[in-house]
Symmetry: C2
Subunit: 394 residues, 2 copies
C-alpha cells in the first residue's frame, strides 16, 4: 500500500512496556514449563469483586435479558446514576462536583490515552519515571515532552522550579505515584496548582491510587484551591474496586476549566460522543455498587489485604538494607536494584534465578534506570512465597 | 488557561449528530410531557439479549466473585476464546482468518473513531451520506476529505471513477450501508478492491450490518480476492446481537496488510495496548456466546423481528408513493422527504405533528439533504403505532 502511516509510532518503543514484559515471561515459561512463576509485576489485582458489586451486576445482567428492562445505548458520559455516584464519592474529600462535570469511561488508561485528542501542540511536562501512557500517547502525536525527574534527592516528588520559564504547559501528575508510590502533600500540590495558574497551564491529575492513601494527603487535586480552573482529574475503579478486568473510570472536567471561554468539558464530550459509545450498562451498575457504603467497605478490606502484602515486601527490603519508597500509601514498592544492577538485568535475574516477575524501573523512563517495581496485588501466599525466594538471592 | 486546544474541533459541528437530536427531543418532551414519543431515529435495538448470552454473562459475573476464577486485566486484543470465536464466525463467509488477525474492542464506533491514530495524512474518500464518525474522526485530525456522493442515480452505491486520479487513499465503505441501507454486490466490491490495489489505497470496510443481508451479497470484504492486502474490516455485535448497551466489536487487520513491510496490525496493537485496556471479561463471554450456534440462532430471530418492522415501514412508503431504499438487507429505511421538504424540516414536522422521531438525512452529509432515515429497531407495537400516526400526515 502507498498510504502513509503515523510515523511517530516509530519514535517510541516497538511495544508497550507491559507487552514487552509479557512476551519475555511467556518465552521463559515456554522454555521452563515446570517452573512456577510468581508475578509481582503488572499492577493487576487478584481479589474477587465485592459481593455488593457482584449482586448489582447479576441484577443488571438479568435486566438485559428482559424486554421491559433491557437497555440499549447508554449516554456516552455515563448514566446519571453513576455520574451522581462519582460526584457523591468526591464529598468524602470535601470536594463538591456536579454530576455533569463527571465523564465516566472504560478506565483511566483510555481517558488518559485519549485526552491529547482535544489538545493542541503544547509543551508537555511529564515526571520520569512514570506510567508509560502519559509519554506514549503524547509521542504518538509528536508532542514535545520535557521531563520532571523524580529521584532520591527530591523524594521522587518533582516540584516546579525556575528552569520552567514557559507558559501553557500540559503537566501530568500522579499521586500516589505509579511506579514510585510517593505521594504529594497538600502544600506540594498547592505549589503545582499555583504554578499552573500562574503560567496558564493545565494539570492532568491521575488519582487512580487515591484509595490507598494513609495519612493526611490529598485524594483529589480539587482539594487544592484554584484547581478547578487548571486541572482535569482522572480516577479509576481498577485498583480501588478491583475492576482491572471489568473496566470503569472517570474524568472530571470542571465547568471552570476553559480556554478562551471554551469549556474543555464540551471538547471532551464531543470527543467521546464521536469515538466512544459508553461503558456497558452491567459495568455501570457494578461501579455504582462499588461506591455504596457497603461496596466501599468491601473494597477497603481488599485494599487492606494488599497493603498487608506491601508491608511484608517492605520488611524484606529493610532486612536486606535495600533503599525503597512506596508501600505506605501505595501498593507499589519502588526499590533500588541491589549491587548497582541495571533494571532489566535485575528483571532477568529475578525471573531466571527465582521465577519472580517484577517491573524494571527503566521501563517507566530513564529516571527509573537502576530501580525496580514490585506490586502487592498478589495473593498473600504468592507474596510470601516470592519473599521467601527473593530472600535467598538478595 | 493559555494552553492550545485542538482547533480542528471548531471545524466540525458543535455536537455529534445524535447528541443534537437527543437534545431537540428532550426539549420537545419537556414542553410536551403528555405526548408519547416513538423513536425510530437512533439505530438502537430494543429486543433483550439472547438467553445464551445472558447465561454466559451470569456465569462470568459469578466467576468474577470467586478468587479461583476471578480475572484481572485481559489481553488488550481480547482473550483467545473470543478472537477464535470471531475467526470461526468468518468461516460462514468462506473467509479464513487466524485469531491473531482479530482485535476485539468495545465496538465499531471506538475502532473506527480511533483508527486514524495509526495513519498519516492521506487523502480520504468517504461516502456521503454516511455514518458521521468516519468524517468527524478525520476532521478532528485535520485530514482532507473528498466525498463519494451516493444518490438515486447510482443507487446510493458510489463506485470508483476517473476523477479519482491519486494514490494512497484511505477509502471508507459501509455495506449494508448506514444510513441508506444500500448493499454492494460482489462485482461492485471487487471494483473497489481492484481500485485500492491499483492505487495502493487502504479500504476501511464497516460490516456492522452484515447480519441483515438478504440475498447473495458479500458479508465481508475478504470474500473479494486481494482484499487482505488492502482492507481493514470492522464488525460489531451491536446490531447483530443487540450489544448496543453491552459494547463489543472487532477489527480485522490481516497479516498481508502492510506498508513498507510494516504490518498495520502491529501499529493497531501498539495503539490499543497504549490507550485501551480491553473489553470486560463478562462482555467477552457474552460475545463468545453470541457466536455459538444457539446464540446466532437467537440473534437471527431478533433480526427477523426487526426486518418485520422494516417491511411494514416499507409498505407505508410504497402506499404513499414515497421513494426509498433499504429495508431489505438493512434495518434502515432511507426515504425521500415528501413535498420536497428539507431533512430537518421533516424531522421537526414528524416530531411536532405526530411525535415520531427519525433521523434527518442531512445529518449524514450534504448528500443526505432532502432524505430521512427511519430505523426498524423499535418494538412491533411502537412501529405499528408510528406507522398509524405517519399515515395521517404523509
Amino acid at each position: 500500500m502507498k498510504i502513509k502511516v503515523n510515523e511517530h509510532f516509530f519514535e517510541i518503543k516497538e511495544t508497550y512496556l507491559f507487552s514487552t514484559i509479557a512476551k519475555k515471561v511467556a518465552a521463559y515459561s515456554k522454555e521452563n514449563p515446570d517452573k512456577k512463576l510468581i508475578k509481582l509485576g503488572i499492577g493487576d489485582v487478584t481479589r474477587p469483586l465485592a459481593a455488593t458489586v457482584i449482586n448489582a451486576m447479576q441484577k443488571a445482567v438479568e435486566e438485559m435479558g428482559r424486554a421491559e428492562t433491557f437497555r440499549g445505548y447508554a449516554p456516552e458520559p455515563g448514566y446519571d446514576f453513576i455520574r451522581e455516584a462519582v460526584a457523591g464519592y468526591y464529598k468524602n474529600f470535601g470536594v463538591s462536583l456536579s454530576a455533569g462535570e463527571v465523564f465516566v469511561g472504560d478506565g483511566a488508561k483510555s481517558d488518559i490515552g485519549n485526552l491529547p485528542d482535544i489538545l493542541g501542540d503544547n509543551p508537555i511536562l511529564i515526571p520520569d519515571p512514570v506510567y508509560p501512557v502519559y509519554v506514549d500517547s503524547n509521542c504518538m502525536l509528536g508532542r514535545k515532552i520535557s521531563y520532571l525527574y523524580a529521584n532520591r534527592e527530591n523524594g521522587f516528588l518533582p516540584m516546579p522550579d525556575d528552569t520552567l520559564t514557559g507558559e501553557g504547559y500540559v503537566i501530568y501528575l500522579c499521586s500516589p505515584n505509579n511506579p514510585t508510590g510517593a505521594v504529594y502533600s497538600h502544600a506540594q500540590l498547592k505549589e503545582w496548582v499555583d504554578f499552573a495558574l500562574k503560567t496558564g497551564s493545565l494539570i492532568v491529575f491521575d488519582c487512580a491510587y487515591e484509595a490507598f492513601i494513609n495519612g493526611d494527603y490529598p485524594h483529589s487535586i480539587y482539594e487544592i484551591e484554584g484547581a478547578k480552573s487548571c486541572a482535569v482529574e482522572i480516577g479509576s475503579f481498577s485498583k480501588m474496586a478491583g475492576f482491572t478486568g471489568t473496566r470503569c473510570g472517570w474524568s472530571v472536567y470542571p465547568d471552570e476549566l476553559a480556554v478562551n471561554g471554551k469549556k474543555l468539558s464540551s471538547m471532551w464530550s464531543r470527543r467521546q460522543s464521536t469515538k466512544f459509545n459508553g461503558v456497558p450498562y452491567i459495568v455501570q451498575r457494578g461501579a455504582e455498587a462499588a461506591l455504596t457504603k457497603e461496596g466501599l467497605r468491601e473494597s477497603h478490606e481488599n485494599i487492606e489485604y494488599y497493603m498487608g502484602n506491601a508491608r511484608l515486601i517492605a520488611e524484606l527490603m529493610r532486612e536486606k538494607g535495600i533503599y525503597f519508597t512506596g508501600g505506605v500509601s501505595s501498593p507499589y514498592i519502588w526499590l533500588e536494584c541491589p549491587n548497582g544492577m541495571k533494571s532489566w538485568d535485575f528483571f532477568d535475574f529475578l525471573l531466571e534465578k527465582v521465577q519472580v516477575v517484577g517491573t524494571p524501573g527503566e521501563g517507566f523512563g530513564v529516571g527509573g534506570e537502576g530501580y525496580f517495581r514490585l506490586s502487592s496485588f498478589g495473593s498473600r501466599e504468592a507474596t510470601e512465597e516470592a519473599i521467601r525466594r527473593m530472600k535467598t538471592v538478595l
